[in-house]
């Protein structure tokens, strides 16, 4: 019936407007959904996007919370975006995030109750290595045996979740925890605590690092030849080979970067806001970060804003749940629509639709 024909000239304006368009359309369709759930759509949309930032009651607490919730999303999405540009699809950041947390927390807890200033930096480093090692598995299998990295990285998420359960019930279980699953609380272990750096806000080192990483990745991608090589690999693997780059090296680099950043997000979270390893530790940042990466157009600055908008829908979404009785699932649908509309919009920006038979 229909045929998609690539447009020869893709409007750069339209492709930049995509994220704004998808946010707008999500508000409208989400509003209709809320209406049918018996909730005032205007009140709900206002509560998601406006109240966390502007309401006198919530904003003092919510604004830093948006950055805290956004930090792991931004960190993970930055790493993923590099791979996505190069056509290297790491879908398993959730697993790398878990392994970063387990590696770092295991190191710190093995030293408990020793206090020393070197524990914290060493813990972060080991967390990064943990995430990195987990992403090296799909990298190695892809380079050596041409195994699809999408499948391997995704499957390793479920392996990581099992290791997480094992850690919470077994080797990391708090010996003073009355037999309940879950490790010691790292916030109560001074040397390993990712404590707040601005008193009373909860803002921790991970938030600061997420901002620094935005700048670092901007320089890497737009001011460094590596950024060009990565784009070349994605757009034209053959040309990349001719120009003397080793595609295998770049594949490794992409997965190392994304795994390390997911690991960093994991160790920052477990030593900070989460506090402990337990079965419920991972809440889907690794998957949500995929939405953030695309919503941000795989551009570091874009990812920053996308991460903040996504965090806003979490923090504001929670408000709507208990203030307006909106079910948790409705908020998840709302977040899913963001990506859906963005991808649909992209399709129309990049392709023309023709009825079959028409010339």
């Amino acid at each position: 019936m229909f045929k998609l024909i690539p447009r020869e000239n893709v409007s750069p304006v339209l492709s930049l407007l995509g994220p704004l368009f998808s946010v707008g359309l999500t508000m409208i369709v989400g509003g209709i959904l809320f209406y049918f759930l018996g909730v005032d759509p205007f009140a709900a949309i206002k509560m998601i996007f406006w109240d966390p930032l502007m309401s006198e009651t919530f904003s003092t607490y919510s604004i830093p919370q948006i950055f805290i919730k956004g930090a792991p999303l931004i960190l993970i999405a930055l790493g993923l975006s590099v791979g996505f540009k190069a056509n290297v699809w790491n879908i398993g950041a959730e697993g790398q995030y878990i392994m970063g947390a387990i590696f770092g927390a295991s190191f710190a807890l093995s030293l408990y109750p020793l206090e020393s200033i070197v524990i914290f930096p060493a813990m972060i480093l080991i967390g990064v290595i943990g995430g990195c090692l987990w992403s090296m598995i799909p990298a190695f299998l892809k380079v050596k045996f041409q195994v699809n990295e999408i499948l391997v990285s995704l499957m390793l998420v479920y392996v990581a979740e099992q290791i997480l359960a094992l850690a919470s019930l077994g080797f990391l279980r708090n010996p003073d925890g009355a037999g309940f699953p879950g490790s010691r609380n790292l916030n109560q272990y001074t040397s390993a605590s990712n404590a707040e750096i601005i008193a009373g806000t909860g803002i921790h080192l991970g938030v600061l690092l997420s901002l620094l990483m935005v700048i670092f990745f901007y320089v890497l991608l737009f001011r460094h030849s590596l950024g060009f090589k990565i784009k070349l690999l994605g757009n034209s693997p053959k040309a990349s080979g001719f120009s003397g780059d080793n595609p295998n090296k770049l594949i490794f680099l992409c997965l190392i970067l994304s795994g390390s950043l997911a690991g960093l997000a994991g160790i920052m979270e477990v030593a900070g806001p989460a506090g402990q390893i337990n079965i419920d530790f991972n809440v889907g940042y690794g998957f949500t970060a995929i939405i953030v990466a695309f919503l941000g157009r795989l551009n570091p600055i874009g990812i920053f804003f996308a991460g903040i908008v996504m965090a806003l829908t979490y923090v504001g979404g929670e408000l709507t749940q208990f203030m307006l009785n909106l079910p948790a699932a409705a908020i998840q649908v709302f977040q899913g629509m963001l990506l859906f509309f963005l991808l649909s919009f992209d399709l129309f920006v990049h392709y023309k639709i023709k009825l079959k038979g028409n010339k």
Partner: protein, 360 residues
């Protein structure tokens, strides 16, 4: 492009309408609840929501209740409770063990908000805890199980090796053994509170090992469904599950949070609520309820079961009355002696006669 601009102006118009609209909420007293899963789980969360609705009913317009479902036991719990407190909640019920540290953290920041935490052990000036003596209910179902088994093998699907679960196994075993000296217990640990697939697998394994009555200390109704298909008996957990196995469902141990929630909200409004309290109530206070008894249970057994229930409620009967030895044969309670709360809350041993080890 023009088309897109049209959509754009439409969405901007919409946004500006959103911003200008406002909402109003007013009630004398606001009570928040956070749940680990959906209230539609027919188990743990469902019963907490029944308690919330009882508060709604008891106080009408004077109290506004709000709840949030699917709150992970992580940093999110802390944020959800903080936002509830900011929104003006006067009292917050945190209904899962894993909210313990977040409750203590948020309570520190909001000294005027009253917190009630289910099944935890940390309290503060504005944090009290509450838990139910589910083991009392297990004495009743243990007795019924002992009388109803023909293979003399009773299966038990257990979640985590924590004192609460161990206590339940011991209590059910002692009652079953008293009803039927030939009875034997088989326990499977599945290390989760809610996983219908794992629960069903465990039940099938127990049935294949000869169990014809299944007890459970996990939350879903999957075991009831398996029992119904296999033609064996089972008991509802947390709420009545007879809809999932009308023939299999002998009775249920129902969590009765409603009277406690209504009482605590009343105290909160009157200013008589106290922090630092640890409530541990059972059948007598209505926190543990024995459901309807299936007509498949003979009248004589029904009568005995009700006598146990009423005896425990009246305080004339205790689930742990000596002489009881520990599994290794060492004496625990002397004849006539009953267990103290401290030992019960930290129970980490099986009583004599149960085979197998508690996982470490």
């Amino acid at each position: 492009m023009r088309q897109f601009m049209k959509y754009f102006s439409a969405s901007f118009l919409f946004i500006s309408m959103v911003i200008t609209s406002s909402i109003a909420i007013a009630a004398d007293y606001k009570v928040g609840f956070i749940y680990i899963g959906p209230p539609g789980d027919h188990g743990w969360n469902y019963q907490h929501d029944v308690g919330r609705k009882a508060v709604d009913e008891a106080f009408g317009d004077k109290v506004e209740t709000v709840f949030q479902e699917n709150v992970p036991e992580s940093a999110d719990a802390e944020r959800v409770m903080t936002q509830m407190a900011l929104s003006g909640a006067d009292m917050i019920f945190a209904t899962s063990f894993g909210y313990m540290d977040p409750v203590i953290n948020v309570a520190k920041k909001f000294p005027k908000v009253k917190f009630e935490h289910a099944t935890g052990y940390k309290t503060a000036d504005n944090v009290s805890t509450y838990s139910a003596r589910f083991y009392e209910g297990r004495s009743v179902v243990g007795h019924i199980a002992g009388k109803m088994t023909k293979s003399n093998t009773i299966g038990y699907v257990a979640s985590f090796p924590i004192p609460e679960v161990v206590r339940g196994i011991n209590s059910a075993y002692l009652a079953a053994k008293k009803a039927n000296p030939n009875v034997e217990f088989k326990v499977i640990w599945i290390f989760t509170w809610y996983d219908p697939a794992k629960e069903a697998d465990a039940a099938k394994t127990l049935i294949s090992q000869g169990a014809d009555v299944i007890l459970q200390h996990v939350d879903s109704s999957a075991i009831m469904t398996v029992a119904e298909e296999a033609g064996v008996y089972a008991f509802g957990q947390a709420s009545d599950m007879s809809a999932f196995g009308p023939n299999a469902h002998l009775t249920a141990i129902i969590n009765g949070w409603a009277p406690y929630y209504v009482e605590k909200v009343k105290q909160g409004m009157a200013g008589t609520w106290k922090g630092g309290e640890q409530t541990f109530d059972g059948i007598g206070a209505g926190m543990v309820i024995i459901g309807d008894l299936n007509d498949k249970i003979p009248a004589s057994v029904k009568k005995e079961a009700m006598a146990i229930r009423d005896g425990i409620a009246a305080g004339t009967l205790h689930s742990f009355t000596g002489p009881i030895n520990k599994q290794d044969g060492s004496p625990w309670l002397k004849a006539g002696e009953t267990a103290d709360v401290g030992t019960l809350l930290g129970m980490n041993f099986y009583v004599e006669g149960i085979e197998g080890d508690i996982p470490k």
